[in-house]
Symmetry: C3
Subunit: 187 residues, 3 copies
């Protein structure tokens, strides 16, 4: 089989570095292939990294935290040619999502949507009210957006689109610090 610009399969030295040809679409090329071909085999050895990040309390609403995350993991990321970054929020009343990274109005409008769709206070039908009127809505919003993200790593960077960013959505009125377990895996 001959190498292809559109995809490569990397394996440790013991399996002999094996390029695998795949069909290319619209001349799209694998963003990692050019450098990966030149990468020494030691770079192709699988690596794992894991750390827990603590984010300071944020006001209720959606917050762009890409730079905060990169400040914590950027140096580790640079060790990976190809891999996956997993972000796991250890809470059930906030969420992580990927959305627009430019206009803060998008964050405000998303918070507006969440508050319109999940009833809160006297009009709400919730049984779980012991922790305050904003608690049960927070749990629902957390399952709507989810508490985890997996993002591709390419050439030492998070391979997100031009307009994508990582958001922390805080669903409680009086938030505490939030912990995110970051796990990096790749070569």
């Amino acid at each position: 089989m001959v190498p292809s610009a559109s995809s490569l399969i990397f394996g440790p030295k013991s399996s002999s570095f094996r390029p695998v040809p795949v069909r290319s679409l619209n001349g799209q090329t694998n963003v990692t292939s050019s450098n990966s071909m030149a990468a020494p085999v030691t770079v192709a050895a699988p690596k794992w990294a894991q750390k827990t990040i603590t984010l300071p309390p944020q006001r209720r609403g959606c917050h762009l935290i890409t730079s905060k995350i990169l400040k914590e993991i950027g140096q580790d990321l640079s060790e990976f040619k190809c891999g996956l970054a997993h972000l796991f929020l250890q809470h059930t009343s906030a969420s992580l999502t990927i959305n627009e990274n430019y206009d803060a109005d998008v964050q405000d409008d998303t918070e507006t949507f969440l508050n319109r769709i999940v009833p809160e206070g006297s009009s709400a039908p919730w049984k779980h009210t012991l922790e305050g009127p904003d608690d049960m809505p927070a749990h629902i919003k957390s399952s709507m957006f989810g508490c985890a993200l997996t993002i591709p790593i390419t050439d030492g960077k998070l391979n997100m689109g031009t307009w994508q960013g990582v958001w922390l959505c805080e669903h409680r009125d009086y938030a505490t610090a939030r912990k995110v377990v970051v796990t990096l895996n790749g070569i």
Copy 2:
């Protein structure tokens, strides 16, 4: 480079075990680092495990299934110092989500929310009705919460927050058994 308490990159012996320093935030330390430093290299060899779990039929609603999952994968989990656990529900009318693990009212209120937000029966605009009035709403709820979870593994355990648990949300009135493909990857 000197070791750091806040993160480590693990690789197989062939790449030489390389600690990587990263900035620490709020004194947060990598929960795996202490043991991982002492881990024999054989433990740092990447491992994969995969099995299919069959969950018995559950009534319509949200169900905490953390213990059911751990009963199936706990022994495998204990083999991993650091990694990721992926749970994949092979169905389109139920969902997996992570939410509160203490008060069953949170599960009931979440079911109440799902039923309020997705119209069902004569008031619903659905074209897909052949499989019953609860089927199309079930498909929508499945995409809202999703059918898969990825959870970090740290020191042989699922590294969830204190109040987090795995939920199976059954969206059909007359449910069948549900299959979950569990894939573990790590060192």
Copy 3:
């Protein structure tokens, strides 16, 4: 420890191939175990593959794209006995989800639901309107369904359920081509 039909842990040659017994439920067996036992150790060497797929513009709505994805990655998939496939949409006004793969009405009804739940036009409360009345609703829908999927790989194929398929949900009226970063990892 003795091998089990319900789960296996695979490692590279250096860690010696170690079957790990786990309890079986309802006679469920690990779909990979039979072949994996016979797999040569070279197959058990961890591999990574990554490529960017460009999907042509689609009309607003939900579209089944499983075959389009498999046409791009099927040959790479066949190299993996066990692993995970990660699909990452590099956009914030469309989404990826897994849902029913048979009746196109399910796709239409899901689009109907999204349009009912997220207000658009003069009745909408959005501040972010510069990019058109369909833009802010598109961002919200993108976070509701998400922009990424992780699917188990078993014996060279995506291990989805009988009725599951990969959907691209296009939330813009005038869509452009959409890029999906596909990352495969396994043995």
